[in-house]
Each structure stands twice: as structure tokens, then as C-alpha cells.
């Protein structure tokens, strides 16, 4: 343990000597000033100012902190290159202790910087408050609410008859022929998605029941955010669909029309809190409001309809977001340390940045690769190459960390809760991935010949 601490202290001294605190101070300055510049250009509404605080007060500085930490972590590769590490590894210290010492020190610095930024963010949000309660902005109000657990979705998953899948594939093949060439595997995937989902012809409706939405003043006052993804049966013909949500019973009933939702992209609708019943149950009806003669069938996957209760205590949400931001830094540090145990400095930095960016865009990339794997517009060589590249990309993504599962800053910006369950699952994923990367880094360092001329 003393050796691990000694390595951590050494890195701190090196960071001090290399004046790494200068970019640190710059990042804090950016966190302080950047939202101010944004405020000048916007409309100045409370919601917009809050978004600016999240984006430029936390998002941008957190990104810069990660860049800084990746560069410092990769300095291990530089120590290997200039053989400085030889004096260290010939002492009674195991390579995993070196990796752990560097990781611990960098995580501490990253955590402290993040805490400073989040504290500044809190101060700014406190500034946005309206003590008189005259501003009926959901974000501002949500700051005061108590934590509310996430809702449970009603519908059960369906079992699918394989014969039905085959029939649907044939039907889609014959319909799409001549318009757009689609691979059979992709058609099967699409058919399964359709069959698992609810299909709504024009004018048709489907019911959803959410239970466990506890009756709280938070929902009543801040409303309930509904997030969903829709598809159309013939995406090659229609890019956008119209859907209407009818919520509540009796006097609490209301209708929200989420017009022209692009298919495949998550859409959001804010429902008033009054639609939630006294027993915490929300009854929703989704109606396809496309023109009857359009023939557009809307597909709604029940697994991708989420009712997000409002954020409870602002402090709890902020701490959860901070926790996730620091956890993500930990994962990136593990990536950078692993890369620098294997490659030269420049390669290690590049690789870690590549992983960072691809992890942030993981969800988008996965969808894009799926699209390219399935569809072929021209059938030429370039299409085939794109298909192979997408297959390779999808395979590579399955090995890379995924930071798109849960975006803490998005939740914070929306004023929506990060549930304890989500927090635990995300932390467990990140911890497992980081542990594997750190162990691999230690192992690589142990097996590598560090005395090569």
C-alpha cells in the first residue's frame, strides 16, 4: 500500500512540476465564465439559463477534465519511452501497484476538479431561484422536490410466432422490391421489432398502464416526462409520423399531440401531474392521428416508452450526476493507462480519445451501423464496403465502453431523476470495465520488456 501511495504522491509532484494546475485553473475559469457568454446570446429564460449552466458549466469542463486526465495518464507511456520507468520497476513494486497508484492519484484530481465545477454549478443554480415562487418553471421548481422512484411500465413482453415473422418478411420484401433493397436478416429483425411492438393503423389506439408513480406533489407540480421511440411500418416511404397521447381519467384527462415525430429518434412529451391517479397509476392511450388515407402504420415498442418522474431533491440529483461524471472519468483513466502500458505516448493518447468519443456516441454509432448493415441503396462496391465496415464497427463497439446508456448531464438538464437502480447498474458497469482495463494494464506492464533498447 505504501508503494501505491508513493507512486500517487510522485505523480502529484510531477503534475505540480509540469504545471498541470494551469490547465486545471483554466478549466475552472471556463466553467465559471462560459455560461455567462452564453446568456448574452439567448432569450434569457430560466430554462435556457439552466441549460447553459449544465452545458457550459459542467458538460464542457467535464470534457476538458477528461482530456487533461487522459494526457497525464498517458505520461506513463512517455516514462517507458525515455526509460525513466526502469529505476522504478527494478524496485520491489509490482506493475499493478504502479498502475493503481497512477489511477488513484488521477481519479482524486479529476474528482476534486469535478467537485469544484459542480459546486460552482450549484451556486449558479441557487442564483437562478425565485424565492417568492412566482416563476412556474418546472426546472426551477424541480430543484426543491423530493426524490421520486422511477415508474414501472405496464405491458408484458409478447411471445412471437416464427411463422408470423416469415410471413411478414415476405410481405415486406414484396412491398419494398423496386423501391429499396433490404437484406433478409434486416427484414427479420424489423419484423420481430414490429411484432413485439404495438402496430397502430390510422385512427387506432393502444393503452399503456404505468404503476408505482407515487402520489407526490413533485409530479403534480412539475409534471411527468414521457420519452418514447416510434417507427413506421414502411420507413422507406415515411420519415415522420403523428402520434397523440391521451392521459388520465375523468376530469384529469388531457390530450398531447406529439406531431411529426421522426421515426427511431427518442421523442419527449411533458404530461401534467394531474393525470396521475391518486393510487400512483397512470393510464395512457397512444393514438395514430395520421390521415386515414395515408396508410401509415405507427409502431410503438412498449419497452421504449418511459415515464420519467421529475427530479426530486436537487442536491441528490446533482450528487448522482457528479458521481456518474467522476465514474466516467475513472473509466477513461483506465483506458488511458491500459493504452499507455501497451503503446507509445501519442498512440496511447489518440487511442484513449478515440475510445472516449466512440463511447459517448456509442448509441448513435450502433444505430448507424445497424442501418448500414441492413440496407443497400445501390448495391455497388462502395455499399458493400460500407456494409463490411459497419459490421466491423458494430463488432468493435461491442468491446468498447458505452457511455450513451445513461447521460447524467442530460438528466440534470431536463430536471429528471437518476434513479438509485440506474445509478447502481451504471456504476457497476463502469467499475467492472475499469477493473478489467486496469488489470490488463498491470498484466501488460508485467509482461512487457521495459529495458528494450
Amino acid at each position: 500500500m505504501r508503494a501505491v501511495l508513493a507512486v500517487a504522491r510522485l505523480l502529484l509532484a510531477e503534475m505540480r512540476g509540469r504545471r498541470t494546475w494551469i490547465p486545471g485553473v483554466l478549466i475552472v475559469a471556463i466553467a465559471f465564465f462560459a455560461p455567462l457568454f452564453g446568456e448574452r446570446t439567448g432569450t434569457g429564460s430560466l430554462r435556457e439559463r439552466y441549460h447553459l449552466c449544465v452545458t457550459y458549466g459542467i458538460g464542457l469542463p467535464a470534457f476538458l477534465i477528461n482530456l487533461l486526465m487522459i494526457t497525464v495518464a498517458a505520461s506513463m507511456a512517455r516514462d517507458i519511452e525515455n526509460r525513466r520507468i526502469q529505476a522504478l520497476v527494478t524496485k520491489p513494486i509490482a506493475p499493478w501497484q504502479i498502475v493503481l497508484g497512477l489511477f488513484g492519484c488521477l481519479l482524486l484530481v479529476s474528482g476534486l476538479l469535478s467537485m469544484v465545477i459542480f459546486t460552482m454549478f450549484s451556486a449558479r443554480v441557487a442564483e437562478l431561484r425565485d424565492p417568492g415562487g412566482r416563476v412556474a418553471d418546472p426546472v426551477q421548481l424541480s430543484i426543491r422536490r423530493l426524490l421520486v422512484p422511477r415508474a414501472q411500465l405496464g405491458p408484458e413482453p409478447k411471445t412471437i410466432d416464427p411463422g408470423l415473422v416469415a410471413a411478414m418478411v415476405e410481405s415486406m420484401r414484396s412491398e419494398s422490391q423496386g423501391v429499396h433493397e433490404v437484406r433478409r436478416a434486416e427484414l427479420e429483425k424489423r419484423a420481430l421489432k414490429v411484432l413485439r411492438s404495438l402496430q397502430l393503423r390510422p385512427g387506432e389506439a393502444a393503452d399503456f398502464v404505468f404503476r408505482g408513480l407515487q402520489e407526490t406533489s413533485a409530479i403534480e407540480r412539475d409534471g411527468l416526462l414521457l420519452r418514447f421511440v416510434v417507427h413506421s411500418l414502411k420507413p422507406w416511404e415515411v420519415g415522420r409520423v403523428s402520434l397523440q397521447w391521451e392521459a388520465g381519467e375523468g376530469s384529469a384527462e388531457m390530450q398531447v399531440r406529439s406531431n411529426l415525430v421522426p421515426h427511431g429518434v427518442p421523442a419527449e412529451v411533458l404530461l401534467p401531474g394531474s393525470v396521475v391517479g391518486k393510487d400512483g397509476t397512470l393510464r395512457l392511450r397512444a393514438r395514430n392521428v395520421e390521415a386515414a388515407d395515408s396508410g401509415v402504420t405507427v409502431i410503438l415498442n412498449p419497452e421504449r416508452v418511459h415515464a420519467l418522474p421529475p427530479q426530486g431533491s436537487f442536491f441528490a440529483s446533482e450528487v448522482a450526476a457528479l458521481w456518474l461524471v467522476v465514474s466516467r472519468s475513472a473509466l477513461l483513466l483506465a483506458v488511458a493507462l491500459f493504452a499507455s502500458s501497451l503503446f507509445r505516448f501519442v498512440t496511447a493518447v489518440f487511442l484513449a480519445l478515440f475510445v472516449y468519443v466512440s463511447a459517448l456516441a456509442s448509441g448513435f454509432l450502433r444505430e448507424t451501423f445497424e442501418l448500414f448493415q441492413g440496407d443497400s441503396h445501390l448495391g455497388g462496391l462502395s455499399e458493400q464496403v460500407a456494409g463490411w465496415a459497419s459490421r466491423f464497427g458494430a463488432l468493435a463497439l461491442s468491446f468498447l465502453p458505452d457511455l450513451s446508456r445513461l447521460d447524467p448531464l442530460d438528466r440534470l438538464a431536463l430536471g429528471r431523476v437518476i434513479g438509485p437502480g440506474e445509478l447502481v447498474v451504471e456504476t457497476a458497469w463502469i467499475a467492472a470495465e475499469s477493473a478489467v482495463l486496469l488489470a490488463l494494464g498491470g498484466l501488460t506492464l508485467r509482461r512487457r520488456e521495459l529495458g528494450k533498447p
Binding site: E14, N82, A87, P453
Partner: protein, 295 residues
Amino acid sequence: MASPVVETRGLGKVFRDFWGRPRVHALKGLDLGVEPGEVFGLLGPNGSGKSTTIKILLGLLHPTAGFAKVLGGSPREVKLKARIGYLPEESNFYPHLSAEETLSFFGSIFALPTQVIRRRTDELIHLVGLEGARRRLVGEFSKGMLRRIGLAQALINDPELLILDEPTAGLDPIGNREVKNLLVDLKRRGKTVLISSHLLADIEEVCDKVAILHEGQLRAFGAVDRLLADDQRTQITTRRLSPGTIEAVRALLDEREGADLKVEVGMPSTRLEEFFVRTVTSAKNEPAAGGKAQP
């Protein structure tokens, strides 16, 4: 007989290129043994395999043939390294630490108690003559000072086995002498020292045994006295003799050994290093001259 502190058998090392093709055969079947308490010199021209051997003994390189044992175990055993001190060939230490911090850092790696680290740091800084620079950053050190701090960090754990790669490179003659004196002192204390160098005078003066490597192969191995002994010649040294006495000795030699015996008579010269050290030491001991130096 005690088991050797360092032992290699059939040690070979081939460096390969990116495609796995053999590029350099750095070592070819090296057999060595260093006994406890010995000061052992590894000699050879540049590229002869000295540093490769040392790096294998420290676990920094992996042999491609044969095996190496250090203190009875594998060179890659972490625990074993607590008994070894190493001075690398290149003095690349952490430039943002002071001399004191550097020693304290390495002491912590050895998990030495804080008080011991403090005491050893003071002793070693004094030993290597860096009292005036104990708080200066290592990044500001000259090459010679870096060798000194390197030597100090190699001794922080009071090692049983000290491995020194070119210990006197970059040192001035005084520093050179101090290192040699230190090695003699370590030998007296029963430490085993393995030195790699291409400065023959250094090795000759302090080593008990030497091994000479060339192109990765062992060319000579044994005790220095035995390797350097010239049993074909006799040397007599005495105080300065008068010309008459010299003539009388020549006549006696002619009479006893025959007239064809080649006899060289002259004044033995002091070695330059010895002369330099003597001059500088006496200059240091002289009282400081009064007044300013005249231009």
C-alpha cells in the same frame, strides 16, 4: 560453498523486429557466476551485451535462451528486488523531485520506515557529495550529479547485491575516486557488486573477478590478478638508484642470466588519475589565499 548471488546458464537474447524476424543476437550462451562478497566486472566494447545481461538480471528483458538466477530466484520476482540496488546506465530520474524527495520516494517504494528513510537520505546525500544540492530539482542536475543521485538511490535499501551500469560515466576524477572508494567499502562490508563498464582502469582497480564479453559471447572470465599476471617478466621497484649501482646490477644480470637479457631501467610514473586526485586534494586542504585573484 555458498550458492552464487548471480548465475546465468546458456543465457541468450535475440531482439526481433516488428515482424518477429531476428534482428540482433545480443547474447549467445552466456555462463556466469558471481559469488557472495565479490566485486565483479562485466567488460566489453559497446554493443557487446553488457547492458543486456544486466537488464535480464533485473527482469527488464526476458531471455530467449537459457536462464538467469539472482539471489537464488527469478529476476522477475518482485520481493527479491528488495535486496537489490540498481544504478541504470541512463540517469533518467524524475526531474520535478529534489534530490531529497527522490531518495525519499525510492525509500517509500522499499516500504522503509519514515525515520530510516530520513536517516538514510542524510547519509547518502553526504556520501555522494550532494549536500549543497539536496533541495535542488533533479531536472537541474549536471550529468555527474545525476550519476551521484543515481548511486544514492541504488543504495537507499542497503542492498545485498548492487548492480551498477557504467557507474563512473560522466563523473569527474574526484567523483570517480569516491565511487571506487565506496565500492571498496561495500566490498569490505560483504556486499556483492556487479559493475558493467568499458573503462578498464576502473574495473582493474576495484574488481575481484571480471568477465569480458564480445558480440554477446564470453571471451575471458576469472580473477583480475590471475588474468593480468605476466609470468614471463620480473619487476623490481626501489628508491632512486645511483648510475653506478644500476651498472653493477646490469653486470650482475648479464653474468647470471646471459648477455642477451633485455633490461629496461627508468623512473616509474605516477598514473594521471592518482596525480590529479593528489593535486586537487592538497589544493582543497590549503588555507584560502587572501585577497582577490588578479586578472
